[in-house]
């Protein structure tokens, strides 16, 4: 079980969280103006990154808040968690010497 650093509550066990898919996908403000292809891309296309991935989590059984996280999908180590609506932080992408949960 992972430890996830909720930006509101601090480090808490994964069992309190739900995963919310890829982060930084913004719902188009005028969906009607999108082509079928662009709308399909918004609905279905995800980057599925091997490596550092920006994803959403919700502290569903905690403060209830959605937030974003940078997680290395090859190690399950989190590099950063940050509030929804704030930009993706720049992190050192070289792997750390040893894991910090």
């Amino acid at each position: 079980m992972l430890i996830i650093d909720c930006p509101y509550c601090g480090r808490r066990p994964e069992i309190e969280f739900t995963h919310g898919g890829e982060a930084h996908l913004v719902r188009p403000p005028q969906p009607a103006e999108l082509s079928d292809q662009d709308w399909a891309a918004f609905l279905y296309m995800r980057s599925n990154t091997k490596g550092i991935y920006a994803e959403r989590w919700r502290h569903a059984r905690g403060c209830g808040q959605f937030f974003n996280a940078l997680r290395d999908t090859t190690t399950d180590h989190f590099l950063s968690t940050y509030k929804s609506g704030t930009p993706r932080p720049v992190v050192n992408t070289t792997p750390s010497e040893e894991g910090h949960s």
Partner: protein, 181 residues
């Protein structure tokens, strides 16, 4: 409103380490700090700005559940007035919802309280990590609870009413190790 109708909460068998707490008024207040300031004036308890902390005064308490979500408890008065609060908050955007019957409260106390709760709750309940006054929504096995430590050896647990049987049964089963039946 006074009614002759019988009020019936889900049953929790009292034991040395577990007891059901009496009927209480429970309100969820959501909104920004201005709404809370206005509410505090009539509720008589201010609202913690620190996450996962409860403040209490007499029978009343405010529990931080989320950055904009607080649980207001009055453990003595089962009909504390929503109208008084609504009037005090007035036009400041907010949501105040009566959930008095949504959940019940039980108290887990005694020297084994931490260990009994850790039979299903994954949080670190050591006093250094979960001090007196800390409150949070979390899980107890497959149920969601609100856990509030109000003494070193006592926890106030809020449980959605239909989960009462499960939670109480679970805790009783865990506690058999410490309180043989």
């Amino acid at each position: 409103m006074v009614s002759s109708m019988a009020r019936l909460a889900p049953l929790v068998t009292t034991s040395e380490w577990m007891r059901a707490l009496p009927f209480a008024t429970r309100l969820i207040l959501q909104g920004d700090a201005a709404a809370r300031t206005a509410a505090a004036a009539v509720w008589g308890v201010s609202f913690s700005q620190i996450a996962c902390r409860a403040l209490s005064q007499g029978s009343r308490a405010t529990l931080w559940l989320g950055p904009e979500e607080y649980l207001l408890l009055d453990m003595s008065d089962e009909s504390a007035s929503v109208a008084t609060l609504e009037h005090a908050i007035g036009n400041i955007p907010h949501a105040l919802v009566d959930i008095s019957h949504r959940q019940i409260a039980i108290e887990i106390s005694g020297p084994f309280a931490e260990r009994i709760l850790n039979g299903g709750c994954p949080l670190d309940l050591d006093l250094s990590a979960f001090p007196i006054g800390m409150c949070t929504r979390t899980v107890l096995a497959k149920a969601e609870i609100v856990l509030w430590r109000n003494r070193a050896d006592a926890f106030h647990v809020e449980v959605w009413r239909s989960f009462t049987g499960y939670v109480a049964g679970l805790l009783r089963e865990i506690a058999r190790e410490y309180y043989p039946v």
